[in-house]
């Protein structure tokens, strides 16, 4: 008993912070979601499920945001996983040059999202941006676009930036996974006459599954919770083409002063993330490898 007393004493600070900054705001958001509070006035009215009803049945921007979120998530998860896997395989060997390249690829991860946003605003700028300049110099003028201004491609342009910024980080997870595969398994494959592709399919990929699990889970949540990059580049535009849930919530609260309504969005948002996380862990749980 005494032991538990001591233990509870040590975890107390953590618990206090958790309650103060997570449990309390969550509960108060839940409470506020049933009101029409505007965020400023001292009084507000209880409106029952009105906010939820409006959100789920009669708000086209909510639907648009969820769909943007899904587009963003799928492109980030698919491309970030594939690109970082390719980099990991290319740079897995511990040579000096590879260590250098890994550092270069990892670099964007340590830059703040807002800085990344400003860099890419310049890259994507339609008339003086470097991307269009390069395309034009290569004679690929037909590819020149208003990367952030075209509502059909803006969300994908941003997904690309997200991949650029985080592929290096994910690559490190894959490299760690590759290094955990015993060398002898590759040697057996070599002796048995496996081609490079057969080796990848029979050895590397199945044994990389635990790393892939972490990567996919991490990337999914990361992309779903994206906020600052998009806020600093397009702020949800053009015409809501890049409005994702977190931005929608933010705009409703701080631009439109609908705190009650945005609290309802926050609750729904949290539920969506909870569902995705649970589904993901159920699906990926079987991917453990025991040597």
């Amino acid at each position: 008993m005494k032991k538990y007393k001591a233990l509870s004493f040590f975890i107390l600070p953590g618990i206090i912070f958790y309650i103060l900054f997570f449990i309390f705001p969550t509960i108060s958001a839940l409470g506020l979601s049933f009101t029409d509070w505007n965020g400023l006035s001292p009084d507000y009215n209880f409106v029952g499920f009105k906010n939820y009803k409006l959100l789920l049945t009669d708000d086209p921007i909510f639907i648009k945001s969820v769909s943007n979120n899904l587009k963003y998530m799928f492109s980030v998860v698919v491309f970030q996983t594939l690109i970082s896997l390719v980099f990991a395989i290319l740079l897995a060997k511990n040579t000096k040059l590879n260590v250098f390249y890994r550092a270069v690829l990892f670099l964007p991860t340590i830059i703040s999202s807002v800085s990344v946003a400003f860099v890419w605003i310049f890259v994507y700028e339609p008339s003086i941006g470097s991307l269009n300049a390069v395309l034009s110099a290569l004679g690929l003028d037909f590819l020149i676009k208003s990367w952030l201004g075209d509502k059909n491609i803006a969300i994908y342009s941003l997904a690309f930036v997200q991949v650029w910024a985080h592929a290096g980080q994910v690559m490190i997870i894959f490299i760690a996974g590759l290094h955990a595969i015993p060398k002898s398994l590759y040697e057996v494959a070599r002796i048995e006459g496996a081609t490079k592709w057969q080796t990848f399919r029979n050895v590397t990929w199945p044994l990389l599954a635990p790393s892939a699990t972490i990567v996919i889970a991490y990337t999914t949540l990361q992309s779903f919770k994206a906020f600052d990059l998009i806020l600093a580049t397009t702020d949800g535009g053009p015409s809501y083409a890049t409005e994702i849930l977190s931005l929608f919530l933010y705009h409703e609260a701080f631009n439109n002063f609908k705190f009650g309504y945005s609290s309802a969005i926050a609750v729904v948002f949290m539920l969506i993330i909870a569902v995705i996380t649970i589904v993901q862990f159920r699906l990926l749980k079987s991917n453990k490898v025991n040597y």
């Binding site: 002898s184 398994l185 070599r190 002796i191 048995e192 006459g193 199945p206 599954a209 490898v289 040597y291």
Partner: protein
């Protein structure tokens, strides 16, 4: 089936790191050859060069009549068993065993038949559906062996396959492996750092140190006729006793003299037969006796004291001291009742002693093999 010929093989990692130097050896068809030595001696590198997993810097390797020096591992018709078993954790036992055959596109019926045959030999048929993580160390090792034998290769290469097993299982698997090899009669090169494994398993043993082959021979040859101090020390447990001293002539007889005792060689060593004066005398712990009742040509008594007794049940190891010289005596007499601190007289079996050069460490003389 085929023999293996290794011809003046060198392996340099760079100018200063020489892993294997001028290694030549012919392994007969069906032979069980053991490469043994301390870690870093080049034994695994040699094996991996035969496998094709390491490039040969210089020299040639033949399997049968074929020069395989520059061939890919898959074209050499070998199978390798690794220390960590190297089983694919995501495949079942059956899939692991069938892996190589599938890659080589054997017909399905033949794969099933071969895997079943191999599994039967190894007694692992009931494990087919299991994953490697559900197996014990011994079972995993059997599966790894199974994967090697299904292909019926020309040569088995085994890199410390028993070192991950516990002591008891290791002894059991040792015997099973030897029996299996005899049954299949496939040329086998086996790497180990364990001299007991080498002695008990090999038809022939090759002892390596610092990339150089020290000696090759049957276990008996190597045990009774070690070519230098390193081999003499490495093989045998407890290892051979070494006593530094000098050879002197007294009354027309060659004698070995050191602090603590003197040994006359009677007529075993003739005058002028050994030119070196400073030598190291080597004798195995079991070639010392507390009496002279048994057969042997015994030396004069040596006075010494018991420092420690290790009782192994069937035998006892006595740690002795004669003035400044320390040596061990292996007694097979379980009735021995000596105590630590007790003074004793012991006798050396002169027909079993070895004399090594103090300068070069090479053997200069032994009773069995002459010069």
């Amino acid at each position: 089936m085929a023999g293996v010929k290794i011809e003046n093989v060198y392996k340099y990692y760079n100018k200063n790191t020489i892993a294997v130097s001028d290694f030549s050896l012919e392994i007969k068809d069906g032979e069980f050859l053991v490469l043994v030595g301390p870690s870093g001696c080049g034994k695994s590198t040699t094996l991996r060069m035969v496998a094709g997993l390491e490039e040969v810097t210089k020299g040639n390797i033949y399997i049968g009549e074929k020069n395989v020096t520059n061939m890919e591992p898959k074209d050499r018709d070998i199978a390798m068993v690794f220390q960590d078993y190297a089983l694919y954790p995501h495949m079942s036992v059956y899939e692991n065993m069938a892996f190589g055959l599938k890659l080589r596109k054997y017909p399905k019926d033949e794969i099933i038949q071969r895997v079943e045959n191999a599994a039967e030999i190894l007694g692992i048929t009931h494990l087919f559906e299991r994953q490697p993580r559900q197996l014990s160390g011994g079972q995993r090792q059997r599966v790894a062996l199974g994967r090697a034998i299904v292909r019926k290769p020309q040569v088995f290469l085994m890199d410390e396959p028993l070192s991950n097993l516990d002591a008891k299982l290791r002894v059991q698997m040792r015997a099973e492996l030897v029996k299996l090899q005899r049954k299949l009669a496939t040329t086998t090169i086996y790497v180990t750092h364990d001299q007991t494994e080498a002695m008990t398993m090999g038809d022939r043993i090759v002892i390596m140190k610092d990339g150089f082959m020290q000696q090759a021979g049957t276990p008996e040859e190597i045990y009774h006729n070690p070519i230098n101090l390193f081999v003499a020390d490495f093989i045998g447990s407890p290892s051979m006793n070494f006593v530094e001293g000098s050879l002197v002539t007294e009354d027309d007889q060659v004698e070995f003299e050191t602090d603590g005792f003197k040994i006359g060689f009677n007529s075993l060593i003739k005058l002028g037969q050994i030119n070196e004066k400073e030598v190291i005398l080597g004798f195995r712990p079991e070639n010392i006796s507390l009496d002279t009742k048994n057969k042997g040509s015994w030396s004069k008594p040596i006075n010494c004291q018991i420092e420690l007794i290790e009782d192994l049940g069937a035998e006892k190891i006595l740690f002795m001291k004669a003035e400044n010289q320390e040596f061990q005596v292996k007694l097979f007499d379980s009735n021995f009742e000596g105590k630590v601190g007790q003074s004793l007289q012991v006798y050396l079996d002169l027909s079993r002693i070895h004399i090594f050069s103090k300068d070069s460490g090479q053997k200069i003389w032994n009773a069995g093999g002459g010069r």
